[in-house]
Amino acid sequence: MQTINKDYVNPVGKSVPKIDGKGIVTGQIKYVFDVNLPNMLVGKMLRSPHPHARILSIDTSKAEKLPGVKAIVTSKDTHLIKYGSNEYFFPHTVDQLPLEDEKVRYIGDEIGAVAAVDEETAEEALKLIDVKYELLPAVFDMEDAMKPGAPAIHEAMNNIAVILPVNFGNADRALKESDYIREDIFRTQAAAHSSMEPHVCIGQWENFSNKITLWSSSQAPFKCRESLAKCLKMDLNDVRVIKLAVGGGFGSKLEMLPMDFAACLLSQKAGGLPVKITYTREEEFSFSRRKHGMIYKLKSGVKKDGTLMVMTGEVIADGGAYCSYGPTVIAAAIMRTFMVYKIKNFRINGYRVYTNNPISGAIRGFGGVQSGFSVESHIDMLAKGIGMDPVEFRMKNATDPNMVTINKMYLSSNGLKECITKATEAADWKNKHGKMRNMSRGIGIGIAADVMGSKMYKSHESAGSIVKVEEDGSVYLFTGAADTGQGSNTALSQIAAHELGVSYSRIRCKSGDTEITPFDTGSFASRVTFISGNATKRAANDAKKQILSVVAEEFKAAIEDLDIIAEQVVNKKDNSVIMNFDKALDLCYSFNYGRQIIGRGSYNPKTTPVDFRTAEGNVSGSYGFEAQIAEVEVDRETGQVKIIKMWDAHDIGKAINPQAVIGQIEGSMAMGIGYTLYEDLKFKNGRVVNANFANYRLPKSLGTPPMETILIETIDPEGPFGAKGMGEASLLPTSAAIANAIEDAVGVRIKELPITPDKILKALKEKEEQERLKSPETPVSAARG
């Protein structure tokens, strides 16, 4: 019999502790990083030292003879089938081989792998492999890569892997009708996910039964299974991908890396011994994925009354060597504006460009961070141009609930305006904005919206859940969703318990094992609470109905009259308690009934197909909204920025677990602060030059500002208990909120991230110079002198 924690009855909306929390705080929980299997071999990847070269030959004979080497694989051991991340919407962007065969396209490109008894031997073997290359000219700058005559990295014309021409309304006419027009160019940098657990996997190939098991620190085990099965020509049910606890992903673990294939192939060659491949921190920085650096060119027009008439421009993204999630990143970078602003005329062309830099891919925010900085900075300048308060400007143009955008997105629940109002009230915007420059202090706002339950990767984007109720009343939730630390196992367990009518303490959760849990596309696009949550709610409801049908049969009652509320089976007609939950389960599993309680649920968001050539269509089942404010102080002599405080108001539909929701928002803001002020993954001729935490700085405890979070519950009609997704949106407005606050504080506008002290000092100096030139009292010659 279980000990039932009564506090955890009706858990939705309560801040229950993480379901795996005890394992985490005691160090007992296992990450793939911690797993050691008997006779396990150490795998290492063979990488290209060149940014662009043709592979002439690979001679592994010397390495094979090295004692302790158990297997070496190259492209010859593969079927030369490519994998990619956007196979459904952008089939031509499927461009990476498990191990490259003819060409290498960036420093670190994987062309082989070694398995040996220990790391030293594996490394020694790598040195003994003789690879002959024919060097090719390389290109590292995205704009150079688009020029005619630039080295062709793939077959794409001018290295443009994806062109996204988004055009609605009549932009040219709207520009003519505008009272104020301005053009700005913004630049954003590459950044590293920096999950604390590096990429790691263990592959094991059961040679006789021809089955693969891959333990992988993955955000999307089913996506992993799909690519493995396709590239290795296996059936889906012969490939088992197991996700254990994941030490952070932030998008970097959303797709497979060649190491995942290599571990399996090496195991096959080594007679079925398990092979573990672990990234070092340096590899993590250099050879996993990174944020797309972007150039965002904007030209927009507004009316004097503050109506945003039109936005036009161009977005170029440095994609690096392969496409990865690039197509959806660039789509999302453009399409988010429609969710935020009621705009009728819009023309932006997006280009996702190949270069010989490391591969850009998905990262928390999916292009929204880059567009958030650019668009929200630009909006502030537009408001300033017509002398309007930036908050008022945003309120005037913000989207409303139950509206259809120009590209046919349907925004049902929408708390954007409430977010703006609540955030500005909390931050005391009226008394601060424009009034603190004498102290070099300023306040700035950014707003954002995000998809929360989208279909952007497959034809369907469904999730499945199973709720199994055991004889003793304990409940097992099986979900395909991949908890990567954000707490989806906890939120889904809360949903299951709430719907089933029992305490959260009854639930145990198994997630992300492709052999035993139902399908789920994975943890990305803030989709899990909404999509997997709906699937889980349905599964719990199904289980409840099964229990109630037994009770109804036994007591000759109508099943519609029965319910399980707070651990009791009740008759809703007279509110009488029939029996408690445990007794009901005794009955289900009794001599006469013996009825197994296995509830199932599946959910596919209600969307319309999106045509990514035009960006038209309702891409998501729900949309989340956000307003964020930063107060900063700038040291005019050092150019250093101190964040005084951050405020965040977030429409999340309904907070399933307020504490976890706030934790996501705070973590996003911290990440946003880092990206805005100092995080900068730097390259020199395609090589990452700051591949360590000493030179790639992350937010630390020192200087963490206070943050105030306001949760706006709009109760989405489609969401489980009204919940939408969250976890990414809070990162989108941060950079602009800070940039806008800096402008408010010292009057300079920085259009290039990260906003480092030297950029501020330079801008301050230029401003001083301009003011001196303008000033009628100072003769120009004297100022120059």
């Binding site: 790391e119 030293e120 002599e637 050092t638 150019g639 250093q640 920025v641 101190k642 880092g674 002020l677 100092y678 000493a694 030179n695 700085r697 992350l698 937010p699 630390k700 020192l702 200087g703 990260p754 480092t756 002290p757 030297d758 000092l761």
Partner: protein, 283 residues
């Protein structure tokens, strides 16, 4: 394995340690290990040779602790940064060491890194360099036969002399009449690594500076003094304008050599702020 094979020695006394150090070839002293272990890992990753013999001083009790010997503070060479930070002896001119210690690297490093290691690792950034030169600190080395050698921190950095003896302790005279300030700039933000630091000590006589030492910490050179600025200050009265005026009297080479524009500017800000702070502390 992250390190190459090595022979580990753990002498129990200073005498044993000095004898080992003199007798073993290719020996490196292991104090806190925060510099040595990382550099051994790096050398191995790059496929370079690493020293065979490692002599750990961790068990040499006589090298630990902060105590007064007469009027002089004696800091044992393997005293860790946080123990110095927490020492009750840091008063008067020595109080500045609290500020300095707090800003060294990170907490676990401050728990491990030693005063001796910080000074002798010959790392490009040595936080204690400038403040200890300003405080006229002396380094005390001991050889295999107990022979002692004393050298000022300033000399030590100036000559870049490689120590063949073992550093036993750092001694600093307590000076109740001295005023000290230290201003440090990090590269980009609170979370970043240091860019530079300026430490200034003077013995105010009325409104006049005297026995002034201006010392600079830099990321690319060892700590050094600015004698041009020192001379200027010696001739000046401590007034509000001094921090600004001082910028006209710098030995510019030591600030501008291999510095980018931002760093050059920050050196001047640091000088200004350290001086303003110093003058503000004048009793």
């Amino acid at each position: 394995m992250l390190l190459n094979p090595l022979t580990f020695y753990a002498p129990q006394s200073l005498q044993e340690a000095t004898k080992l150090y003199a007798s073993l070839s290719e020996a490196r002293i292991l104090a806190g290990g925060t510099f040595l272990l990382n550099s051994l890992k790096l050398l191995k990753r790059k496929g370079l040779k690493t020293p065979q013999n490692i002599i750990s001083l961790r068990k040499v009790e006589e090298l630990k602790g902060v105590k007064f010997a007469g009027d002089s503070l004696s800091i044992g060479s393997i005293t860790v940064i946080n123990d110095l930070f927490n020492s009750a002896h840091l008063t008067d001119n020595l109080a500045i060491l609290r500020t300095v210690c707090r800003n060294i690297s990170t907490n676990p490093i401050r728990n491990m890194a030693t005063i001796g290691g910080n000074l002798t690792s010959r790392y490009t950034w040595t936080e204690l360099g400038a403040p200890l030169i300003a405080l006229e600190a002396m380094l005390n080395f001991v050889g295999p036969n107990g022979e002692q050698e004393q050298i000022s921190v300033e000399e030590f950095f100036k000559n870049g002399a490689k120590a063949t003896k073992i550093l036993s302790h750092v001694s600093i005279r307590r000076d109740k009449t001295a005023t000290v300030s230290y201003y440090r700039v990090k590269k980009m933000s609170d979370v970043d690594v240091p860019l530079l630091g300026v430490c200034i000590k003077t013995n105010f006589i009325g409104d006049r500076f005297s026995k002034t030492r201006v010392c600079i910490n830099n990321t690319i050179t060892f700590a050094q003094r600015d004698s041009v600025l020192e001379e200027f200050l010696e001739k000046s009265e401590a007034s509000k304008n001094i921090p600004q005026e001082a910028l006209e009297h710098l030995n510019t080479a030591i600030y501008d050599n291999r510095s980018d524009d931002y760093k050059k500017a920050m050196f001047r800000v640091a000088i200004k702020r350290a001086l303003a702070d110093l003058i503000g502390r004048k009793k």
